[in-house]
């Protein structure tokens, strides 16, 4: 067996079950609070808040101050980090110039197409989760191409299965596509529901088999990745399938997604800022990410949320267009500004 083949004692094997400090992204406390434990925290905070105020208000506050606000760190990184800006100058200049007039036009004519942005929103939730899985794998020395691909399959298949069995999303998709004029045949929807579960089941079994194989062969295991997967998907299942509440399900999901994103962006950008030589091009980026300026980072996030919610009462269409544009750009920019496989990225996560 594995223990014999690798010559490891039972004590060593038991000790390897517990992640060491360098397996964490920032520190045990930071990771457990803001990354691994944040889905559970989201359930406690959102359900707790719903006892104090109406559910639609809870959703309103989460959407305004967290979901809208979390676009800010994306822009800080994309345009504030001189390296990032130079590397992606074409995308960062040209895409906004294309997207802004398109979104403004669509908001003005009330295009229903815009409602489908939530599909991309969900995709970027899963991409973020997958990104954290990759980081924990790398940190634990457990990364391989095969495992990366399996993680990706596991994350997406499990999420799609949850969405397919969620009353909340079942209605949202049915209503949005119907309003748009797209009607999927009933049999196709049923095949999708059953099929997504079957695919997720097969991928889950493959994942477990691979995990068993890694353990048996004494290969490193990223336990924190597994716990993160359990908390995230456990909470997604609870929020979307068990709870299935029109206001609270998305609020829970958005709460922990944004908390994870903001915390990680702060941690990574701060480390990057510390390594930068002081010069004019990165002055703002370094200033905002100094430890003593954490309040400024948080204030910028909350301020965008506050200005958006106040602005909507005065200039609904322009503010809606602005929020939609920053949302779309956030999804798009995130697809290339946080690349785990880049050497620079790994360097700052050491």
């Amino acid at each position: 067996m594995g223990a014999a083949t690798n010559g490891r004692s039972l004590e060593q094997r038991v000790a390897s079950l517990f992640p060491t400090r360098d397996h964490y992204i920032a520190s045990p406390a930071f990771d457990w609070l803001f990354l691994i434990g944040s889905p559970l925290l989201a359930v406690v905070v959102v359900l707790g808040a719903s006892r104090l105020m109406a559910a639609d208000r809870v959703e309103y506050y989460v959407l305004a101050y967290m979901a809208i606000g979390h676009h800010v760190p994306t822009f800080l990184r994309a345009y504030g980090d001189a390296d990032e800006y130079t590397r992606n100058r074409f995308q960062l200049i040209v895409l906004p110039l294309c997207v802004i007039p398109l979104v403004v036009g669509m908001v003005l004519v009330d295009a229903r197409l815009l409602t489908l942005i939530f599909v991309w929103d969900q995709y970027h939730f899963v991409r973020q989760h997958y990104g954290f899985m990759r980081i924990y794998d790398v940190k634990a020395g457990a990364s391989s191409k095969f495992d990366a691909r399996l993680d990706q399959w596991l994350s997406f298949s499990a999420f799609i299965a949850i969405i397919a069995h969620s009353g909340f999303y079942g209605y949202m998709y049915a209503d949005s596509f119907y309003a748009l004029g797209i009607v999927f045949p009933d049999w196709l929807v049923r095949v999708f529901e059953d099929g997504s579960l079957a695919v997720a089941g097969v991928v889950g079994l493959l994942f477990l088999a691979r995990l068993q194989w890694r353990i048996a062969n004494g290969l490193p295991i990223a336990w924190l990745k597994l716990v993160l997967f359990a908390t995230t998907f456990g909470v997604w299942y609870f929020a979307y399938v068990t709870l299935a509440h029109g206001f609270l399900s998305y609020a829970i999901s958005s709460f922990f997604h944004c908390l994870q994103y903001d915390a990680f962006a702060w941690y990574y950008n701060r480390k990057k800022a510390l390594s930068l030589p002081p010069n004019r091009s990165n002055r703002v980026f370094r200033f905002v990410h100094e430890s003593r300026q954490l309040w400024l980072f948080v204030t910028l996030i909350l301020a965008y949320g506050l200005l958006s919610s106040l602005g909507k009462t005065l200039w609904l269409v322009p503010v809606l267009a602005l929020n939609t544009t920053t949302g779309l750009l956030h999804y798009y920019f995130d697809s290339f500004i946080w690349r785990v496989r880049r050497a620079e990225f790994r360097e700052h996560l050491q």
Binding site: F90, A111, Y171, D175, L180, G246
Partner: protein, 263 residues
């Protein structure tokens, strides 16, 4: 520009606006026609199939109820709304929809009583209070209407349901408040409410009409004429009910001013 043409990301980047435009053309050119040609019976079939797959989600039941109402199946709609309220007793849209269908079936007292009870336990449901106030106003119960309007104004005036299409709930609240106060003979308060409503810049003539009538209530026909002139400028095609109300109010103003014709 560190990327050369041919880079996959650049093509993706260029394809993005193109794809959005293509989808927009699809929505307006193709799908919009399908939406317009859809029959109420097809809508029922669609939501029945959806609810069969998704029976425990409150909004799905409400949506099915709306589809039933469109084909006149009031009992089926009522059953769907009741099921929705069983699933979530705090779902404002379900409570309002149940009120609507009971009222349409002629069970007006029961509908009002139920909605009023729901509003008391859900004081933030502005649309609920709006309907309760309208009911009392229609029945001439002015004290009850005034209380409902107070609750409406204290509700926070936010829409908690997508079922109802009010352009501006604050506008609606002040118009209603103005109507209640003017009907009670409290013209000054009514005038203040209608002026508040006018501040909202909603393209609707009811605030102008209410203000003009209240001004007539305190014998200010000239001021009322100014308001009516402004309304006619803003809503030149004031046909139908609005047009006849504007016309009737103008006649009253002219009578009160003792003028028999306008230059």
């Amino acid at each position: 520009m560190n990327r050369l043409p041919g880079d996959r990301r650049i093509w993706t980047l260029l394809a993005f606006p193109g794809l959005m435009l293509l989808l927009f053309w699809l929505e307006r050119g193709v799908l919009a026609r399908q939406v317009a040609e859809r029959t109420p019976a097809e809508e029922v079939a669609y939501w029945e199939a959806h609810v069969e797959r998704n029976p425990d989600y409150v909004a799905s039941q409400v949506r099915l109820g709306v589809a039933y109402q469109q084909v006149g199946r009031s009992d089926a709609a009522e059953a769907a709304y009741r099921r929705a309220l069983e699933l979530d007793g705090d779902w404002d849209a379900a409570a309002l929809a149940l009120y609507g269908v009971e009222r349409a079936k002629g069970e007006r007292d029961a509908a009002r009583t139920r909605l009023e009870a729901y509003s008391r336990t859900h004081p933030r449901c502005a649309v609920c209070w709006h309907n309760v106030a309208l009911e009392h106003l229609d029945l001439g119960r002015l004290d009850d209407a005034a209380l409902a309007v107070e609750s409406l104004l204290a509700s926070g005036l936010t829409m908690t349901t997508g079922l109802y299409d009010a352009q501006d709930l604050r506008y609606e609240a002040f118009v209603l408040s103005g109507r209640v106060h003017s009907t009670r003979g409290e013209f000054d308060r009514g005038i203040a409410d209608f002026r508040e409503a006018l501040q909202r810049d909603v393209p609707d003539a009811r605030a102008h009409i209410g203000l003009a009538r209240s001004l007539l209530g305190i014998s200010k026909p000239d001021d009322a004429m100014v308001v009516l002139d402004e309304a006619e400028l803003l809503f030149p095609r004031g046909d139908g009910r609005t047009g006849s109300q504007l016309e009737a109010t103008r006649r009253r103003a002219l009578q009160q001013a003792g003028i028999r014709g306008r230059p």
